[in-house]
C-alpha cells in the first residue's frame, strides 16, 4: 500500500445522506475478480445517463452533466465532502477500491458506516469524521468558492482551509501509523504467531468442540 502523508486538493461536495456502497459501485461491477479498474464506474448510476455494464468503453458513455464529479469546477478532486452515514450498506471493499482508483484520498463526513470506514484505511484512504456544523460550513464554503482546496495533514491531524483556518481531527493511532507507513496488516499480525498459537491451546481446553481439527495439548 502507498504511504499516506499530506494531501492538498480540490474538494468535491456530495450533498446527500446515507450514500450506500451500491451507489458508490453498483453490483454489476462486483463480478470482477480483480482489485483495480473500478474508478471509471465510481457512482456509475449517478455519473452516466445510460446503464453501466462491465467491459464497456466508459469514455464513450453519455455523462450526467449535473453530477458533481462531472462538473468542470470539481475536476481533479482528491477530497470528497459527504453527509452522514456515508458508505452504508454492503461490505464490498470494491467501494473504497473504486474511490481510490478514481483518485479520492480523503473523505470528510459527519459519520461513516463502520465496515466502510474500516475498509478505507486498508486501501490508503483517510476517512475523517467532523461534527455536523463544521461539515455544513465546509459545504457552504466549497459551493461558494470555485477551486476550493483543503490541505489535509495526517501526521499533525489537521485540515487547513484556504483562509488558513485549521480544523483538527481524530484518528486512531494504530490506523494512522499503518496509513503513514503503508503497512500491511497481515504482516503485522504474523509477528504475533506465538500469541495466536497460545490462544488456540487455551481455547482448545475450554471449547474443544470448536477445535476438532487440531491437536490440543
Amino acid at each position: 500500500m502507498e504511504k499516506f502523508t499530506m494531501v492538498e486538493a480540490i474538494v468535491a461536495p456530495l450533498d446527500r445522506p446515507n450514500v450506500d456502497t451500491d451507489a458508490i459501485i453498483p453490483k454489476q461491477f462486483l463480478k470482477s475478480i480483480k482489485r483495480s479498474g473500478f474508478g471509471p464506474n465510481l457512482f456509475d448510476e449517478w455519473r452516466y445517463l445510460d446503464v453501466g455494464e462491465p467491459g464497456q468503453d466508459n469514455s464513450k458513455r453519455p455523462l450526467n452533466e449535473d453530477f458533481v464529479l462531472n462538473q468542470p469546477r470539481y475536476q481533479g478532486a482528491r477530497i470528497l465532502l459527504a453527509r452522514e452515514n456515508f458508505g452504508c450498506g454492503s461490505s464490498r471493499e470494491h467501494a473504497p477500491w473504486a474511490l481510490e482508483d478514481f483518485g479520492i484520498k480523503v473523505i470528510i463526513a459527519p459519520s461513516f458506516a463502520d465496515i466502510f470506514y474500516n475498509n478505507c484505511f486498508k486501501n490508503g484512504i483517510l476517512p475523517i469524521v467532523l461534527n455536523e456544523k463544521t461539515v455544513d460550513d465546509l459545504f457552504t464554503a466549497v459551493e461558494q468558492n470555485p477551486g476550493y482546496k483543503l490541505i489535509v495533514n495526517l501526521p499533525d491531524q489537521v485540515i487547513t482551509t484556504p483562509d488558513a483556518t485549521t480544523i483538527n481531527f481524530d484518528v486512531d493511532s494504530f490506523r494512522k501509523h499503518s496509513l503513514l507507513q503503508g503497512l500491511d496488516d497481515i504482516g503485522l499480525t504474523l509477528q504475533h504467531v506465538n500469541d495466536i498459537r497460545a490462544y488456540e491451546q487455551r481455547s482448545c481446553k475450554l471449547t474443544p468442540w470448536l477445535f476438532k481439527d487440531m491437536q490440543c495439548k
Binding site: 454489476q28 452522514e84 471493499e93 494504530f174 487440531m214
Partner: protein, 469 residues
C-alpha cells in the same frame, strides 16, 4: 464491579492480544466464504506466498451470482461464471470445504451456516458480507468484513479490531397476529435510524424476542446492519440449544454436555450496563412496509406515505423528497393503495423454512393477481427447498402462479438474471431498498413474507387479516 454484557463475554473470550490503545487481535472461529468478496483475497495470498492458517475453520458456497432456474445449463453470464469457478478453484487449491453450485446443501451463506451447525453459540463468525450479523441469533459474535479482512482471516485466523459499544434493544410484550420478526426489526430501524447502531453491537432482548423462533431471531439479527450495527446478538436459551443439536457441524455427543453448559452462560449478567438502551412495546408494532430508499423509511400497513414538508431537518427533508421521486409515490397516499408489479420472497433475511411456511399459509387456495407480472419464491438453501417440497409447499406456490426457484441471493441484489426493470415496483422480503438495489430504476418495498404473499394475491399492499377467503 458491574457485570458483563453478552458482547463483553464474547469479546473477552476471543482476545488474542491487546495493544495499549485498545487495538485488539481477536480470534475467529468460523469464516464463511462466497464468490463475490473472496477472489481478490485469495489472489493476495498467492502473491504474498501465504497459506491458510486453519483450513477447517472455513466453509464456502457460491450464492450471489448463481442462477435460480435451469441450473443444469450452468451460468450463462460469462463474468458471473468466472467468479463462481474462481471460488471452486480457490477452495480446491487452499483445501476449503465448499458446497458447490450442484451440491444439495448449497445456498445463501447465512442460511447454510446455521443449518449445518457451522454457526454455534459462543463463536466468532465472519464473512465478507455485511449480513453476517444474522448469525448473532445464536449468541455468536458475527460480523461482516471487507476483502482485505477476508485475506487477513484466511492467513491469520484473526481480525484487528477495536471493541464496539454496547446497545440493548428491548422489545417486551406479545406480538399481534400477523406481526413477524421482520416487522419488529423494521420498526426498530424506523425508531433508531440506519445509523442508530453505528459503533455498537446491539443485543436484542425482552419477552417478545424470547418468543421468536430461531428463524425469527436470525431475521432480526440479519438487519442489525441496516440499523448501523456491525453485529446483533440474542442470548442463548433452550431454543437455541435445541436448534443446534444434531447438525452436521455441531459438537460430537462426547462434547455436548460441556458445550451446553458453556452455552448456557452466554447471556448478559443481570447487573451489566449498556452504553445505550432502546425500548419498544410489542403491542405497538404493526406490519411494516418501507416507502423510501433507506430501510429507516418505514411505516405501518395502515399508514400513509409521509409528507416531507412535515420534516424539520432540511437534510432529511431533501432525502425524503429524493426518495419519493425515485419511488414514484405521492405524500399522503395510503400504503394499501400502492399497486405492485413483482413479488420476491427470498434473501438471507426471509428464505428459511418458517418464512416459506408463513407465506404458503397465506397463498394457499388463492391466485396471484393478474396485475402482478412476476411472483417468485427463492428458498435460502437446497435443504430448505427440499424440506418445503416434502411439505408440499412448492405446489401451493406453483398452483397460485408463483415461480418456485433454486436457492441463491437472486433478486435481493440482482447480480444474476433476476431483477427489476426501470420503474417496476416490488414487494420484497429482502433487507435493502436502496436505489437500484434490485435493478436499475427498480422500486423496492421491504416487507415480511406474510405481507409479500398477501400483496401478491391482492395486487397491492393489504393487511393479511383483511384478505378474503
Amino acid at each position: 464491579m458491574a457485570g458483563k454484557t453478552l458482547y463483553d463475554k464474547l469479546w473477552d473470550s476471543h482476545v488474542v492480544r491487546q495493544e495499549e490503545d485498545g487495538t485488539t487481535l481477536i480470534y475467529i472461529d468460523r469464516h464463511l466464504v462466497h464468490e463475490v468478496t473472496s477472489p481478490q483475497a485469495f489472489e493476495g495470498l498467492r502473491l504474498a506466498g501465504r497459506s491458510l492458517w486453519r483450513p477447517a475453520a472455513n466453509l464456502a458456497t457460491p450464492d450471489h451470482n448463481v442462477p435460480t432456474t435451469e441450473r443444469e445449463k450452468g451460468i450463462v453470464d460469462p463474468v458471473s461464471r468466472i467468479q463462481v469457478e474462481t471460488l471452486d478453484h480457490n477452495c480446491v487449491d487452499f483445501g476449503i470445504t465448499e458446497f458447490g453450485m450442484d451440491d444439495p446443501r448449497q445456498g445463501i451463506v447465512h442460511v447454510i451456516g446455521p443449518e449445518q451447525g457451522a454457526t454455534l453459540p459462543g463463536m466468532t463468525v465472519v464473512c465478507g458480507d455485511s449480513h453476517t450479523s444474522t448469525h448473532g441469533a445464536f449468541a455468536a459474535l458475527a460480523m461482516g468484513i471487507g476483502t482485505s479482512e477476508v485475506e487477513h482471516v484466511l492467513a491469520t485466523q484473526c481480525l484487528i479490531q477495536k471493541k464496539a459499544k454496547n446497545m440493548r434493544v428491548t422489545v417486551d410484550g406479545a406480538l399481534s397476529a400477523g406481526v413477524t420478526a421482520k416487522d419488529v426489526i423494521l420498526a426498530i430501524i424506523e425508531k433508531i435510524g440506519t445509523a442508530g447502531g453505528t459503533g455498537h453491537t446491539i443485543e436484542f432482548a425482552g419477552s417478545a424476542i424470547r418468543g421468536l423462533t430461531m428463524e425469527g431471531r436470525m431475521t432480526l439479527c440479519n438487519m442489525a446492519i441496516e440499523a448501523g450495527a456491525r453485529a446483533g446478538l440474542v442470548a442463548v436459551d433452550e431454543q437455541t440449544i435445541e436448534y443446534v443439536r444434531g447438525r452436521p457441524y455441531s459438537p460430537a455427543e462426547s462434547h455436548l454436555p460441556q458445550a451446553e453448559a458453556y452455552w448456557r452462560g452466554l447471556k448478559s449478567d443481570a447487573d451489566a450496563s449498556f452504553d445505550s438502551e432502546v425500548l419498544l412495546r410489542a403491542e405497538d408494532i404493526r406490519p411494516q412496509v418501507s416507502w423510501g430508499t433507506s430501510p429507516e423509511m418505514v411505516v405501518s400497513i395502515d399508514d400513509a406515505v409521509p409528507d416531507p414538508q412535515q420534516e424539520s431537518d432540511p437534510v432529511k427533508r431533501e432525502g425524503m423528497i429524493n426518495a419519493l421521486n425515485y419511488m414514484g409515490l405521492e405524500a399522503g397516499m395510503a400504503i394499501t393503495d400502492i399497486q405492485l408489479d413483482k413479488i420476491f420472497i427470498g434473501s438471507c433475511t426471509n428464505s428459511r423454512i418458517e418464512d416459506i411456511r408463513a407465506a404458503a399459509a397465506i397463498v394457499r387456495g388463492h391466485k396471484v393477481a393478474g396485475t402482478i407480472s412476476q411472483a417468485m419464491v427463492v428458498p435460502g438453501s437446497g435443504l430448505v427447498k427440499k424440506q418445503a417440497e416434502e411439505e408440499g409447499l412448492d405446489t401451493v406456490f406453483i398452483d397460485a402462479g408463483f415461480e418456485w426457484r433454486d436457492p441463491g441471493c437472486s433478486m435481493c441484489l440482482a447480480m444474476n438474471a433476476d431483477r427489476l426493470e426501470e420503474g417496476e415496483r416490488c414487494a420484497s422480503t429482502s433487507n435493502r431498498n436502496f436505489e437500484g438495489r434490485q435493478g436499475r430504476g427498480g422500486r423496492t418495498h421491504l416487507v415480511s413474507p406474510v405481507l409479500a404473499a398477501a400483496a401478491a394475491i391482492a395486487g397491492h399492499f393489504i393487511d393479511p387479516n383483511r384478505l378474503e377467503n
